[in-house]
Amino acid sequence: MQMLKIKDLRVTIEDQEILKGFNLEVNAGEVHAIMGPNGSGKSTLAAVLAGRDLTVTGGKVLYNGEDLLEKSPEQRAKEGIFLGFQYPIEIPGVSMVNFLKTAVNELRESRGEKPLSASDFLKLMREKKELVEIDSTLTNRSVNEGFSGGEKKKNEIFQMAMLEPKLAILDETDSGLDIDALRIVANGVNKLKSKERASIVITHYQRLLDYIVPDFVHVLYDGRIVKSGDKDLALLLEEKGYEWIKEEAGA
């Protein structure tokens, strides 16, 4: 079943066109990897899908057949979209517990479910913490405050595990992770894998794709997808870099 359809999407930031006619279709059950050189527009794509207030100058995005771009970020989250941030935000003074409890209960409410009791919530937290092997003391702190780079990334996966999204968009969640953490993050993604769910994994490293085996690999260059293939494309990129792709695209 088709979940996401992005058609000829154009996004402009400060008079600069960043996405220049981007196309992608994602069906439930699929894993798509997006690779591409720095500055090619990967995070911009992720942000516009999650609801960041960016200037869309053309194209459309359908999510489960509905216009996604007119929905608020929180509405998108409620409908199952999750963005793992490339640079997670520190929010001093807002505790992880309060933050996650509010988020979880908002999602439950939108599904017509009762809010979790304090003890059920803590139980859920404990369970997911074990799953992503996140240090227990981290969740006693303010959101991302003073977390190391790797801890922030793990925290994104922890949040994903708590919220169980339908469409997870992970923006370089593997960058800055040690080898064990990489395995844990991949494991978190694979645990969620099902016929109803899909993910878009943005990465620079083929290594992650050994753990999360993608159905498709796309290369984003200069605001559009210039090449798509299966997981072998990632191996090829690892070996040859982007020069040949740029040449092909330029030609």
């Binding site: 929180e74 409620k78 999750f82 997670p88 988020a103």
Partner: protein, 455 residues
């Protein structure tokens, strides 16, 4: 019908009021206090009501808070109700020694001074002036400076009573003292109370002051509090301003600190139409430490103005000011914090921060740090920020399904928490925490079980 606007001459009004009521004022007070009136009214006459031309009151329209309809009463206060029927502090587990001021006057005037553990004395200031004259004489009206503030002089001329606290050497007050200022009247009313707190060497106490209005009349309070913290003493004052928005409050606190003393003050302004807090701290003794904190949450047309002056008059003292504010709607306000390091105040360590969040384009805050540094070995830092809520944090939360409104609340609450967290009386801290939360949500955040919700 023609309306001729009669110019209300505030100064003239008070001068006449003073002459006409002098004997009633005196008889409701004590000789030690009465002795100071003449000088004070002359000072007031000389200075007049502060105008906005003065640096200090640049943003505050003081003249505007005085209106001819405010009645003043100096005779025996007829309280025709049982105060406990309408007021009861309902903070769970807040076990305090409670003192009530009603309309600026000590509630139970006939009550003798109370002696608490360790020889600690509390009670009416007028009563203490009679029963403990040597002590009151030594301190009364000596920290308060009328030099450049006629409002303090006005208070000295008219104030009849207030709260007296005396902590003898080495006394430690376990239970906090709670002073509840209640305004309740059938007509609009102005009140002026006068407090005197003395902490002798090595003593320690926590004091909580709560301001409430229990009737919907317009009120004006012009109150003065003098605090002396002797060597090695430890004094902690939390003040909760929770009057209705038809009320105006001018509050002047003078604090003198001797060597190695530590004083914390924390002023949380939740409601009140016009609030001006003046805080003067003089660090007189080496190694003294002062923390002056404040939180103000204003909306509608509230005006909240904090003026702080920390005078480092001896070497090796440290001071820290932290004021945070959230301004919504058309609310406006000002923060003016001055740090003075006198010539021989070497090794001064002074810090000041004022952070504001403006929620609307109409909300306004004027933030003015001022430094007067005359010593050369001084560590001094100040910072002031005024801005909106962090966009990135908002988006992060919303992307997790937290609605915009809730995300804003979480951020504002987090912003305020830095100050709330430094209220040292735990049950009070929890209550303030809850009130702040409600306040930010726009829910009624009255503190007491008063049936009146007159905003």
């Amino acid at each position: 019908m023609s309306t001729v606007k009669q110019e209300y001459d505030v100064k003239k009004h008070f001068l006449e009021l003073f002459r006409e009521n002098r004997s009633v004022i005196d008889s409701g007070s004590a000789p030690l206090m009465n002795k100071q009136r003449e000088g004070a009214i002359e000072e007031f006459e000389r200075l007049g009501i502060p105008s906005q031309k003065s640096e200090k009151y640049r943003y505050a329209d003081i003249n505007g808070v005085f209106n001819p309809n405010l009645s003043k009463s100096f005779g025996v206060q007829k309280v025709s109700f049982n105060i406990h029927d309408i007021f009861e502090c309902d903070i769970p587990d807040l076990d305090t020694n409670l003192i009530l001021l009603v309309n600026g006057r000590y509630f139970n005037k006939e009550e003798p001074l109370r002696e608490l553990q360790g020889g600690i004395i509390t009670g009416s200031l007028a009563r203490a002036s009679k029963d403990m004259p040597q002590i009151v004489e030594k301190y009364y009206n000596s920290a308060a400076s009328t030099e450049d503030d006629s409002l303090v002089a006005l208070n000295t001329a008219f104030a009849q009573d207030g709260v007296f606290i005396y902590l003898p050497k080495d006394a430690v007050l376990e239970k906090p003292l709670q002073i509840v200022n209640i305004m309740i009247h059938e007509t609009d009313l102005m009140a002026q109370h006068r407090n005197l707190f003395i902490a002798e060497e090595n003593s320690s106490a926590k004091v909580v002051v709560c301001d409430h209005t229990l009737s919907p009349n317009k009120f004006l309070t012009n109150g003065v509090t003098e605090i002396y913290a002797a060597s090695n003493s430890n004094f902690d004052l939390s003040k909760i301003q929770n009057e209705h928005n038809g009320s105006a409050q001018l509050s002047h606190t003078f604090l003198e600190q001797e060597s190695e003393s530590t004083v914390f003050t924390n002023t949380v302004s939740l409601h009140g139409g016009f609030v001006r807090n003046n805080m003067f701290v003089r660090l007189n003794g080496e190694g003294s430490e002062n923390h002056t904190l404040g939180l103000y949450l204003a909306d509608k047309t509230q005006y909240i103005d904090n003026y702080v002056k920390i005078d480092h008059a001896s070497p090796g003292c440290s001071s820290r000011q932290l004021f945070k504010g959230v301004m919504d709607d058309q609310a406006s306000g000002s923060f003016n914090g001055t740090i003075v390091a006198r010539k021989d105040a070497q090794k001064t360590n002074a810090y000041q921060a004022n952070n504001n969040i403006l929620l609307t384009d109409d909300a306004r805050i004027n933030s003015r740090p001022q430094l007067e540094i005359y010593a050369d070995d001084v560590k001094c830092s100040h910072g002031s920020t005024t801005g909106q809520l962090d966009e990135n944090a908002m988006f992060y939360m919303r992307s997790r399904g937290i609605p915009e409104r809730e995300a804003r609340l979480l951020l504002m609450y987090a912003f305020a928490y830095e100050v709330v967290n430094q209220i040292h009386v735990k049950p009070l801290r929890l209550r303030i925490d809850d009130l702040v939360n409600k306040r930010l949500r726009g829910e009624l955040s009255r503190c007491n079980n008063c049936a009146m919700n007159c905003e």
